[in-house]
Structures are given as structure tokens and as C-alpha cells.
Assembly symmetry: C2
DNA sequence: TTTTAATATTGCAATATTACGATAATAAAA
DNA sequence: TTTTATTATCGTAATATTGCAATATTAAAA
């Protein structure tokens, strides 16, 4: 069906899945790595760096923005995209909590 | 197109994306949490716990197995699924490395 | 050997994702 | 004001994912 049955899972499980889903594309990984390594993180530079069409990059940026992982600051005609450090740390902590909380009773 | 252009990204970026993708479903999060909390982690118990049809669970288990996150041990007619602790730790380390390596020069 | 129980696989319908051309929106520059 | 540059949105084609009924496979039990 292609439709995830979110209603049978709890909020935490759905939240984790959404975060993982946003990160589950090499272009979005590459965008994050590029943004984080540059002093100026202009959208157009990202398009040239990654090698996907401008609308495609714009869409990936939108998905990263949807969980506040990046912030876009308008600078005239351009937009400077930056990683949202607070959210970044928050997500890293959340993922570590998921990995750590998982105990291994069996086998 | 629906087809990810993996060839324009490096191996590390693609590997990270695949790991995130496997984790990007609440059912698979729930399966991992359930398996890790049980002494016996029989496939049928997972089906009853999660509330999805048996073939659907079987498919999700297959995806978790695809990156060796879980191991299925055959016990007669039943299969006992367990988390692969070594891979679990390895992936946690890899994700932390990704989060840590990302520096923030801009903004 | 036949039956039963547990799990995997196949096939398919419905929805989601990816990618991009065309175009709109926005703001600086001419 | 018109042009130009930059980014966002829309529409759409192609592929992927999700979920399940039907069925196959496997191994213990009868």
C-alpha cells in the first residue's frame, strides 16, 4: 500500500523513524557535510557541489528544514543555509538514547 | 523518477544513507525495541506484539537482516531473532562519528 | 507419512519518494 | 522600470516502499 500505519506505533517510535527518514538519502548527507564544512553555505553553491538539479536540491533542503536540522537565512537574493546546532545535538542525543536503551536480554 | 543517483555520492555517504533508511520505519524501530526487551524473540511473538500481518513483519525483519542488525537463529519450526550486538555498536559509533565530524564554520 | 505450525516468498494494489523541466516569486542591479 | 540572478513551487514521470492475501517452504508432531 505504501502507507505507513503510524497509528499503531507510539509518538517516540514515529519521531525516531521520521528523523531517520530525513537522513536516509545520500544527497541529504552530502548537503549536511558540505554545509558544515563551508563558511558560506549558499544554496547555489550546494547545487553546484552536489550535482543534482536546483529544484531537487531545493526539495532536499526543504526536508532537512522540516525537522529543523538546518536554518535558511535570507541574504538578498541568496539564502545561506546553516546547520541548527541545538537541534543537531538534540538529535544526536536522541539517537544515542535509542541505541543505549536497547538492552540485549536474549541470545 | 524515484531512483536515487547513488553514483554521484561516495561510498560512505551511501552507506550512511542505507543504514538510516533501514531504521526509517516505526515498525522496524518497534521490532528492535521488542526484540531487545525479550528473552525469547520468536518471529510469531513479534507479529502479535506489533500488529502487522506476518508477511509484513517478515519483510521488515529481512530489511533489518540486510545490514546485519539482527540475526535469526532457527530453533525447530521457530526462528529466534536477536540483535547483533557487534553491528549495533559499530553502527552507533559510525553515526556518532558522522554527527561529531560535522563542524560548524558558518553562521 | 500426513498433519500441523511457523516462517518465507510471491504478486499485487496503493501510496511515497526521487528527480527535473517549466514556471513563479523575490530582490538586487542596471 | 526592466533586467538579471537566486531560490521556491508545481506538475509529472519513473521507481521505491508498504502492506497483505495467497502460497510455498520447512520441520516438528501425530
Amino acid at each position: 500500500m505504501g502507507l505507513t500505519k503510524t497509528q499503531i506505533f507510539d509518538e517516540r517510535q514515529n519521531e525516531l523513524a521520521i528523523i531517520f527518514k530525513v537522513l536516509a538519502h545520500p544527497a541529504r548527507i552530502a548537503i549536511l557535510q558540505y554545509i558544515s564544512s563551508q563558511k558560506a553555505c549558499i544554496c547555489n553553491d550546494i547545487v553546484e557541489e552536489i550535482g543534482l538539479a536546483q529544484p531537487t536540491i531545493s526539495q532536499h533542503l526543504k526536508e532537512l528544514k522540516s525537522i529543523d536540522l538546518i536554518i535558511g537565512e535570507i541574504e538578498g537574493k541568496k539564502v545561506c543555509y546553516c546547520i541548527n546546532l541545538n537541534k543537531w545535538k538534540e538529535i544526536q542525543t536522541l539517537l544515542n538514547s535509542f541505541f543505549d536503551k536497547t538492552k540485549f536480554n536474549c541470545c
